[in-house]
C-alpha cells in the first residue's frame, strides 16, 4: 500500500510542469545557457533515464533520508518537515485528547439520560458543532477570546519571552479547542449509539438483576465495551485531524506542517507539496495500523491477520 502511494506521489511530481533543471537557474541565466549545456546537465543528473529508473532512484533517496530541496528557498525538505512536525503533532494530540475525553463523556451522559433534556440539548449542540465551518468557528473564537477579551494570545506558537516548555501552552488552547470541536460531535454521537446498543444487551440485565448499583453497571460494564467501536471511529477520523490542521494552522498562524503545505501549494513548490502529502499518508497508514493493534488488544473477539 505504501509503495503504491510512493508511486502515485512520484507520478504526481512528474506531472507537474517543469523539471529540476529548469528550476535551477533564474530566467536570465536560462536565456544565456545553450541547449546543449542544458542537455548535458540533464544527462548528468539522470533526468533522461527511463521513468522507472528515476522512480527507483528517487525512492532510494527518500528511504535514505534525502527528500529533495524546496524550490523557493533551497532548504532541504527534510529540515523543513522535521522542524514543523512537532508543532502539528502538539496540535493534533491536544485536539485528539480534548475531543475523545469530551466526546465520550458527553456521549455517555447522553445515552444514560436518554430522552431527557440533557440528551436532547447535547444532540442539538452536537449537530450545530458539525455544521459550523471549522474556520468560521476559529475566526469567531479568535475574535472573541483573543482580540476582544484578551484571554489568549492572538496566534503563533512561540514568543521570545517563553523560556520554559509549558509557557506556550496558552497559545495551544484555542487552536486545539477549535480543531477538537467538530470531532467531539461525531465521537459523542457514536459513543451514544454504541452505549445504547450495549446497555440493551443481556449481560447488563444480568448484572442489574444481580443487584449491582446502576452507576457501576453503566461505567464498568457498559462503557468499557461500548468504547471499542469508538476507538475504531477515532482511528478513522485521524485523517480528518491532519487535514483540519491545515485550515486551523492558517487562522492561528500555527507553525506546523499544515501551514507549510498551504504555503507550498500557493507558491507552486511542487517537491515540498508532494513530500508533505507523502508524509501525511504515511502518518495515516501508521495510525490505522496502531488502531488495529489497539482494537485487537481491547476486544478479545477480534483476531489479527
Amino acid at each position: 500500500m505504501l509503495l503504491i502511494m510512493t508511486f502515485l506521489i512520484f507520478l504526481g511530481m512528474e506531472l507537474t510542469p517543469g523539471d529540476a533543471v529548469s528550476f535551477m537557474a533564474g530566467p536570465e541565466a536560462m536565456a544565456n545557457i545553450s541547449q546543449a549545456q542544458l542537455e548535458a546537465l540533464r544527462e548528468s543528473l539522470g533526468l533522461n533515464d527511463p521513468f522507472f529508473i528515476r522512480y527507483i532512484n528517487w525512492l532510494g533517496g527518500v528511504l535514505s533520508g534525502n527528500f529533495g530541496y524546496s524550490l523557493t528557498s533551497g532548504v532541504p525538505i527534510k529540515d523543513i518537515v522535521f522542524s514543523r512536525i512537532p508543532a502539528t503533532l502538539e496540535l493534533s494530540v491536544a485536539a485528539l485528547i480534548i475531543s475523545t475525553l469530551l466526546g465520550t463523556l458527553l456521549g455517555l451522559v447522553s445515552a444514560v439520560k436518554r430522552g431527557h433534556s440533557a440528551d436532547r440539548i447535547f444532540t442539538v449542540v452536537g449537530m450545530i458543532g458539525v455544521s459550523i465551518p471549522e474556520f468560521f468557528l476559529g475566526l469567531v473564537a479568535l475574535l472573541t477570546f483573543s482580540i476582544h477579551f484578551g484571554w489568549f494570545p492572538i496566534g503563533g506558537r512561540l514568543r521570545p519571552e517563553y523560556t520554559a516548555y509549558w509557557h506556550h501552552l496558552k497559545n495551544l488552547v484555542l487552536p486545539a479547542l477549535v480543531l477538537g470541536v467538530s470531532m467531539t460531535a461525531g465521537v459523542m454521537r457514536y459513543t451514544r449509539s454504541s452505549m445504547l446498543d450495549t446497555i440493551n444487551k443481556d449481560y447488563i440485565k444480568t448484572a442489574r438483576s444481580k443487584g449491582l448499583p446502576e452507576w457501576r453497571i453503566n461505567l464498568l460494564h457498559g462503557f468499557r465495551v461500548a468504547l471499542t467501536p469508538v476507538i475504531v471511529l477515532i482511528g478513522f477520523r485521524l485523517p480528518m485531524l491532519i487535514g483540519g490542521s491545515v485550515v486551523i494552522e492558517q487562522i492561528f498562524q500555527w507553525p506546523g506542517i499544515g501551514n507549510e503545505f498551504l504555503g507550498a501549494v500557493r507558491s507552486q513548490n511542487y517537491p515540498l507539496v508532494m513530500m508533505i502529502a507523502l508524509f501525511s499518508v504515511f502518518a495515516v497508514l501508521i495510525a490505522s495500523f496502531l488502531i488495529d493493534l489497539l482494537t485487537a488488544a481491547l476486544d478479545p473477539r477480534v483476531q489479527l491477520d
Binding site: 449537530m127 474556520f135 482580540i147 491545515v246 492558517q250 503545505f261 502529502a277
Partner: protein, 295 residues
Amino acid sequence: MDRILEAENTKTFRKKYGSRSTRKFIKNKLSILGFALFSLILLSSLFAPLLTSYDPLSINLKEILQEPSSSHWFGTDKLGRDVFSRVLYGGRVSILVGFGSALGAALIGVLIGTYGGYKGGLLDKLFMRISEIFMSFPQIILVLLLVSIVGQSMKNLIFIFIATGWGSIYRMTRARMLSIREEEYIQALKAFGIHPLIICYKHMLPNALGPIMVNITLSTAMFILQEAALSFLGLGVPLQIATWGNILNAANDLNVLQSYWWLWLPVGVIISLFVLGINFIGDGLRDATDPTQQG
C-alpha cells in the same frame, strides 16, 4: 373481522397522505425546521435578482466599507460591492458546487458499487483497492494536491470533489448490495436467468435508495463546507466569482476581522444555518427510511 370489513367499506383504512417514509419525515420537527432553513436560503439564492437590485460584481469605489444600512442590508465591502447581493449570488455557486459534486460522486459510486457488490470478483477487488488509496489521503491534502496539479477553476473543483468523494458512497452501496444479494427474491431472479445487469440496477438498486439519498444530502453539506474552506484559503473557486467561501476570504486579514464584521460574520452564519438545515434533513431522512425505527 367485522370491524375490518366495515373500515374497508367506509374507506377509513387508507392513510391520509404520502408513503410511510414521507409521513415519518414530516412528523419529525427538526427535519421540518431543517427543511425550512434549507428552502429559505436556497430560494433566496435562486431568486436573487428579485431580492436585490445590486450587481454583485459592480465595483463602486465611492461607497467602500459601509456599515449595514437600509440601502445595503449587509453593508459594502472593500470594493464597494453590496455584500447582501454577493451572499445571495454566491449561494448559487456554493450550492451548485456542493450539490453537483455530491450528485456526481453518488452517480459514480452507486454505478460501480452496485455492479461490484453484486458480481464480486477481480473488478470489485480492484475498485476497493483504488477507493482505499483515495481514502488514505486526508481529504483536504488530496484536494489541495490536485488543485496544485490541475489548477483552479470551478469545473476543476467539482471534478476534484467528485474524485475524492466517490469512495465513501461506493463502499456504502457495495456493503448494501452484499447484504441484499443474499435475499431470496434475488436468488429467484437469478434462477429465472435474468441478466445480471437488470437484476442489479432494476431490482437491487431501488431497495438501497434510502441510505443513498441520506448520503447525498450529507455529502452536499460536506462539500459546501469544503468549498468554503478552500475558497477561504484562496485555493478554491477563483476569487472573481463570488461564493460563500470567497467572501469569507476577506476575513484572513486581522484588521477586517476586528473592524468590519459585516464582511464575514453574516456569510458564516448563513453557511452554518444552511449546512445545519441540510444535516437536519439528512438525519430526518435517515430516521424516516430506516426500517428498524418505529413509525
